[in-house]
């Protein structure tokens, strides 16, 4: 992707539908992203704790720990991580809760890959801006 310029976008896909993660990873990797996929909330948090990501695609409804709970914890681990929620149904409650907790977008399944990609790029831009902003603040402060 041209957006990144210096490095590819680091994307984490979290969905209990294993095949969806697999194929989505292949398609997005083919588009120049660095993609990792996991199938549950605890796995996602372990990976987020281990390495930095720019954007996460996060399924709302998963067995055990749901997407909202993952979002809450993920934001503590990586405050700059941009999260795009992905859901099978238009639950207003989940969408509102997700936004309140700092998710950037709320997409409905089955989403069009071009739309998903556009949101990912948008999220990445936002993250870069926030990083630059933080860096300049730090410089001004130091």
């Amino acid at each position: 992707m041209e957006v990144g310029m210096t490095r590819p976008i680091r994307l984490l896909i979290v969905d209990d539908e294993q095949r969806l993660v697999e194929t989505l990873s292949k398609r997005l990797t083919a588009r120049g992203l660095y993609v990792e996929g996991v199938h549950s909330g605890p796995e996602a948090l372990a990976v987020i704790q281990a390495r930095p990501f720019d954007v996460a695609l996060l399924d709302v409804r998963m067995p055990g720990m749901d997407g909202i709970a993952v979002l809450r914890e993920a934001k503590k681990l990586q405050p700059l991580l941009q999260v795009i929620m992905l859901s099978g149904n238009a639950s207003i409650n989940a969408a509102v809760e997700g936004m309140r907790l700092g998710a950037l977008e709320y997409l409905l399944k089955p989403a069009n890959l071009d739309d998903v990609l556009a949101k990912i790029e948008e999220a990445f831009k936002k993250k870069r801006l926030e990083e630059e902003h933080l860096a300049s603040q730090r410089q001004a402060g130091g």
């Binding site: 095949r19 969806l20 194929t23 998963m62 099978g88 149904n89 399944k109 089955p110 989403a111």
Partner: protein
């Protein structure tokens, strides 16, 4: 539940009727309710008092007669003095005769009023059942739409992946061929999965057709469970089945009993949502019929709430999650066929709802099924 606001308004109007009929014979209800009825009457439209009020008047009249008789005899005794002629008995006998003459029509009237109350109550619950069935159809449809969107999302990505490969040019390579074959196979798998999901919706429609007179409880429990499967899984709820084989068929209509099971399972699910747990479905023969238990390992029902949970519109759930109708409707359905619905729960130790249903061979009685 997805309830239209007009439907909700109608339910609220009905609950008022229900409350007035329920309060009819309970003494503590009298004092509190009188003021409200007085208020209703002053609107000018309540020309005839509600049946509950008429019934209380009748009972009051009946109860006043014996003290009146006693009073008359006491007066007679005082008038004639002890040791006098037996003439003092005349007013007593007269009073008793009057009372007997009054009691017969009054008793008949009480019977009539009670029947009217029972009928009104049945109409109330019939209507509630109709409304709640429509609401749960909405819920089932929403849940099924959600389940369907996952295979759809996978199919879209598989088709997209094939397109990606085609755009890549090299279609003859063994790797590309294998990828395409794999994607097509996956699409077929997801179509089969979708078909099973739509089958559930079709099954729901089929089971809603009236009116089987006897029901295989184990089969119906399994079918109902199927509707909630993905929701239970998403909530982290494990299901344990302790179903006795070879149970008698029970009395009742499949759509109505399914509504009961669905309500009880949904309550168990809601109690454990977020924290996970175990839902146990148990059946066993009991006194010629069947006993069904639906247990959860949720937080249990607070002691203060447990005596109210079968009252319409009482709910411990959040405003947009529960209407407080599931349990009262369930109890009504079960009692209508001569069964019982009860609960045991301690705070912090889960809840266990038990349903008993009589076997289906005997003819259903025509009783109107009050509490």
């Amino acid at each position: 539940m997805y309830l239209h606001s007009r439907v909700y308004a109608k339910m609220v109007a009905m609950i008022k009727i229900e409350r007035s009929s329920r309060g009819a014979l309970s003494p503590e209800a009298g004092a509190g309710r009188r003021a409200r009825w007085a208020g209703t009457a002053s609107h000018g439209r309540a020309a005839t008092p509600p049946p509950g009020r008429r019934l209380r008047r009748t009972v009051l009249a009946l109860l006043l007669v014996p003290p009146a008789c006693l009073l008359l005899s006491a007066l007679a005794l005082l008038t004639w003095g002890p040791g006098g002629s037996l003439a003092f008995l005349i007013p007593v006998i007269a009073a008793l005769a009057v009372w007997a003459a009054l009691a017969w029509p009054l008793a008949a009237r009480i019977r009539r009023e009670l029947t009217a109350l029972a009928r009104q109550r049945d109409a109330f619950y019939e209507e509630l059942l109709r409304l709640s069935r429509a609401a749960s159809l909405g819920e089932v449809a929403s849940s099924i739409a959600h389940d369907l969107n996952n295979p759809l999302a996978i199919m879209r990505e598989e088709a997209g992946w094939i397109q990606d490969l085609m755009r890549g040019g090299d279609l003859q390579g063994a790797h590309t061929q294998a990828e395409i074959a794999n994607a097509l196979k996956q699409i077929d798998i997801q179509i089969e999965r979708s078909r099973e999901i739509t089958q559930r919706l079709l099954q729901w429609g089929r089971d809603s057709a009236p009116q089987t007179e006897s029901v295989d409880v184990n089969l119906l429990l399994n079918k109902t469970l199927y509707l909630l499967e993905s929701e239970l899984q998403a909530a982290g709820v494990r299901v344990v089945k302790e179903l006795s084989p070879g149970l008698a068929q029970v009395r009742g209509g499949a759509p109505e009993l399914r509504q009961v099971f669905l309500n009880l399972m949904k309550n168990a699910l809601d109690a454990m949502r977020g924290q996970g747990g175990t839902m146990t479905l148990a059946t066993r023969p009991e006194r010629g019929g069947v006993r069904i238990e639906i247990r959860d390992t949720g937080p249990g029902i607070p002691a203060a709430a447990i005596e109210h949970i079968f009252e319409p519109f009482f709910t411990t759930k959040a405003a947009n999650e529960g209407t407080g109708l599931g349990l009262p409707i369930s109890r009504w359905i079960v009692e209508k066929v001569g069964g019982t619905l009860g609960v045991e729960s301690r705070e912090g130790a889960g809840a266990s709802f038990h349903v008993t249903l009589p076997a289906g061979e005997t003819l259903p009685d025509t009783g109107s099924g009050g509490r």
